[in-house]
């Protein structure tokens, strides 16, 4: 296990380095001069001002020189300065990453907590009323745009009922645990909705598949209890494909978080990355995108570890056997 983890971490670092180079290159190649963007609309700025600001931000130097300098500083923990926020990148991203991870973690946990029992319930009696109701919910969860759902939740729970706050991370001047939790409810529900539907759909399909296997029939023939058959034999095997979906989805939650964070004025990393890319803020966009990559890689490694925990027959040697 240790050797496996060291190897996967090494691979992850290599991927991150390659990603940094490619992303930096892509950001440079993207059209749009950051200084001109900063000054758009101000007719009082002179040509000399533009030249000076370009030099001040190092934009007059070749790409490879700038990247080399960035990488040299990054390995020493200095990820540069954000032009959009006029602050070091780490000061901007670190708290936002934690906020996003909290939001994503809660949404993920909620999705798992709802989807797993729902998928077992649906798979146990395919075609039943419960199965059809769950299917309908899954269809709705996948089809409803997060933007629309967020607005609906705000209008219902914040405007009409006044139960939960419409936006923000905490009430200014409060910030207690209950207050923080209240601010999280609507964003978490919005972000979790699509995941619940997706996990339930895949979980149900996997369970239906597994429940048709010979060993399930054998277990039934041997007189095993239905609960044991469902959870120990069926659910455990159905989890393996589901874990892959969940691992991939955790990375994808970043993009979902963009809309959710924007709608609820939640200070997370999704919106920050978007603004950084659109505002041509190299350092912020680059580090933000690398963080998104790192989270996805970490989720994949966690999934590999989870395989081993779910099914001890899977050895973490890089090759899987089932």
């Amino acid at each position: 296990m240790t050797a496996f983890l060291i190897r996967r971490l090494g691979q992850a670092l290599l991927v991150l380095w390659l990603m940094s180079f490619v992303t930096y290159g892509l950001l440079v190649l993207m059209p749009g001069d950051p200084v001109d963007l900063m000054l758009a609309g101000d007719p009082n700025v002179t040509a000399a001002d533009v030249t000076r600001l370009r030099a001040l931000h190092g934009l007059d130097r070749p790409f490879i020189e700038r990247y080399g300098e960035w990488l040299g500083n990054a390995v020493q923990g200095d990820f540069g300065y954000s032009r959009l926020f006029a602050a070091p990148v780490t000061d901007i991203l670190a708290p936002r990453l934690l906020n996003s991870l909290l939001l994503m973690g809660l949404a993920f946990a909620l999705a798992v907590a709802i989807a797993l029992p729902a998928s077992v319930l649906a798979a146990r009696h395919p075609g039943s009323l419960a199965d059809r109701a769950i299917n309908l919910f899954c269809f709705a969860g996948i089809s409803v745009p997060p933007f629309w759902l967020a607005l609906l939740l705000i209008l219902l729970f914040a405007v009409a009922l006044g139960l939960f706050p419409a936006s923000g991370m905490a009430t200014i001047g409060d910030g207690g645990l209950a207050d923080r939790a209240a601010h999280l409810v609507l964003p978490v529900l919005t972000l979790a909705a699509a995941s619940v539907a997706q996990y339930t759909r895949h979980g149900r399909a996997a369970m239906v598949e597994v429940l048709r296997e010979d060993y399930i029939r054998t277990a039934r023939a041997k007189g095993a209890r239905e609960r044991t058959i469902l959870w120990r034999h069926g659910f455990r095997n159905a989890l393996i494909p589901l874990v892959t979906i969940m691992a991939l989805d955790f990375g994808a939650l970043f993009s979902g978080a963009l809309i959710t964070e924007t709608m609820f004025a939640y200070l997370g990393i999704g919106k920050t990355i978007y603004d950084a890319v659109m505002g041509n803020d190299f350092n912020l966009a680059l580090v933000g995108l690398l963080l998104a990559t790192a989270v996805t890689l970490a989720a994949n490694i966690a999934a590999d570890v989870a395989y081993g925990l779910i099914d001890p027959r899977i050895r973490l040697t890089g090759r899987k056997s089932a």
Binding site: L37, G41, A86, A150, P165, G168, A265
Partner: protein, 565 residues
């Protein structure tokens, strides 16, 4: 009920019970303002950003600004210098050898008002003025408009409150300190030890709640980057006390969420300076006019279409005039903006004293447009589109920022108007980063680019209309004359306005300049944008200015109408 289901229901009940403890804060002692942007920094020197100006209007006052009547007014000075009151004096400029250089400079003397204090009780003095000049003129500080600080060749200090600004050039703006921002020397000097690092080391960034950074009726007491800024009363403010104990400025970027927050009571007021777009506000007013008050204030944001004058079709002024005659701008204003965005006949706003009212105008007249196009040789019509006798099709492209719903809608309306007179116009939009950062900068739009300029009252169009301001590869795409307008007479008028100190003579020059602009039509003027202010019925005293100094510069006039005091 089976056990897992019971547990799930129990979990839901516990969650609901714990969350019911949440109670939104309610107090009229505070005003919560919603905006769509957050300032990158509160340092008044770095970056020209509207939302920063908005927040600092409450907390950081300048020496002088423009008032509601668009005339300069003293804020921290006792009197604006003029030649008549003796606070402004001309002098002959000497060259390096000490001989007369053949031009005049100007000395303007200001006195800081008594009772001017920073938020920690330190008086505002000439030391702050000198320090601010030192920071402002340093090329590595990151100040966007360095020129206004570098034009000052010296600041002579008379005493702790009186100083004289010396400029080797005299122009009509001689007595307004412009964007000269004050910084507290006693707090900021250490951060400026390494000028290149100043933008990250400034206390406005590292400790923005430091009371001494502010000198307005409020000071910043709490800031959550990207989310909100809390301002509380500045106990050292000597002017009229503001009505609210504290002001909270919350950033909610999505306008739909901003509306929902207003309806839920999470915010009290949506600032016009950076809030809902006009169409959104008009829609909101239809639904909620009984709950809120609405103010629409047209101002200095000038929406226009830049022509690329290198395009042979548009090089012909008859075509440019025909394009303007072909569109009903009043109908656009009336139908899309409920008449709240007045049609522009030039770049100078009618609210500006320099506005010349007898300009050549181009009323909606499709027949006149058709005649002009015929005259320009576009008389052969095939498939409803005009052609030249040699078969050249009258086809143009218009570009703007993609995702800007209003601009995209206006584009479609314009396209339809132009089609009626046989002009084919195709639409190609780009994200703002590409449009402003590449296309407009390098004049890469083939025919027309629609966007807006922001400016101050009586703003000289030197960077946008002067012939040497055309961006080219040779000058590394510097300058903002993206239309490519080169006219010696326009250059002469701009130069003449700049040095004319007599207002009446300058008025005549402005009239000539605007007439030339309207005659030559280097750009197609559309309208002056309006800001929409959505206020609770109880909030009174708010007066938008229409120019770059926001309504918050007069926040001590704002009050709760239900408060007897």
């Amino acid at each position: 009920m089976r056990r897992p289901t019971r547990l799930f229901v129990l979990w839901l009940l516990l969650l609901t019970a714990s969350l019911s403890l949440y109670r939104p804060a309610e107090a009229r002692e505070q005003l919560v303002i919603g905006m769509t942007q957050f300032p990158s920094t509160l340092n008044p020197m770095i970056d020209a950003m509207l939302v920063k100006t908005y927040v600092l209007g409450m907390a950081q006052r300048q020496i002088a600004i423009f008032g509601h009547d668009w005339e300069p007014v003293c804020i921290w000075c006792t009197e604006l210098p003029t030649f008549e009151n003796g606070r402004a004096k001309r002098f002959p400029v000497l060259d390096a050898d000490g001989k007369p250089a053949g031009k005049e400079g100007v000395r303007t003397t200001y006195t800081i008002k008594p009772g001017a204090f920073w938020g920690d009780g330190t008086p505002i003095t000439t030391e702050d003025v000198l320090f601010s000049w030192e920071v402002g003129r340093h090329p590595e500080t990151g100040v966007s408009d360095l020129n206004s600080y570098q034009e000052i060749v010296d600041i002579e200090v008379e005493d702790e409150r009186t100083f004289t600004i010396v400029r080797n050039k005299i122009d009509y703006r001689y007595n307004t300190p412009g964007d000269f921002n004050l910084l507290p020397a006693h707090l900021e000097r250490d951060a400026f030890a390494v000028p290149r690092d100043y933008k990250t080391r400034t206390l406005y960034k590292t400790a923005p709640a430091t009371p001494g950074l502010y000198n307005g009726p409020y000071r910043v007491s709490e800031l959550s980057e990207g989310a909100y800024i809390v301002l509380v009363r500045n106990e050292h403010w000597q002017g009229k006390p503001p009505a609210f104990e504290r002001i909270v400025v919350k950033t909610i970027e999505k306008t739909a969420a901003l509306e929902a927050n207003l309806l839920s009571g999470a915010i009290d007021y949506i600032a016009g300076e950076a809030g809902l777009t006009l169409d959104q506000a008009l829609g909101f007013e239809k639904r909620h006019s009984e709950t809120f008050d609405f103010i629409y204030k047209p101002g200095l944001i000038y929406e226009h279409i830049e022509f690329n004058l290198d395009n042979p079709i548009l090089a012909d002024v008859r075509v440019r005039r025909a394009l303007l005659h072909a569109i009903d701008r009043q109908a656009i204003s009336d139908r899309l903006f409920a008449g709240n965005q007045p049609v522009a006949h030039g770049a100078v706003n009618p609210l500006d004293w320099a506005y010349h009212k007898d300009l050549p105008t181009y009323p909606f007249d499709p027949d006149r447009a058709a005649a002009l196009l015929d005259e320009a040789g576009w008389s052969k019509i095939e498939d409803g589109i005009r052609h030249r006798p040699d078969g050249t099709r009258l086809s143009l492209e218009i570009m703007t920022t993609s995702g800007n719903r209003i601009r995209e809608l206006v584009e479609q309306v314009l396209q339809n108007f132009w089609k009626q007179v046989g002009v084919e116009v195709t639409i190609r939009n780009e994200p703002a980063r590409v449009f402003f950062g590449e296309t407009v900068r390098k004049r890469a739009f083939p025919a027309m680019a629609m966007f807006a300029w922001l400016s101050a009252p009586e703003s000289l169009p030197k960077t946008t209309l002067y012939s040497t301001s055309v961006p080219t590869e040779a000058n590394n795409w510097s300058g903002q004359n993206a239309t490519g307008y080169r006219n010696a007479e326009m250059d002469r008028l701009i130069d003449a306005i700049e040095v004319e100190l007599d207002r009446e003579k300058r008025r005549a020059l402005w009239a000539e300049q605007q007439t030339l602009y309207a005659t030559d039509l280097p750009v197609l003027p559309l309208y002056f944008r309006s800001n929409a202010y959505i206020l609770p019925k109880w909030l009174k005293g708010l007066r938008p200015t229409g120019h770059k100094y926001s309504s918050t510069y007069w926040i001590e006039q704002w009050r709760d109408s239900s408060d007897a005091n």
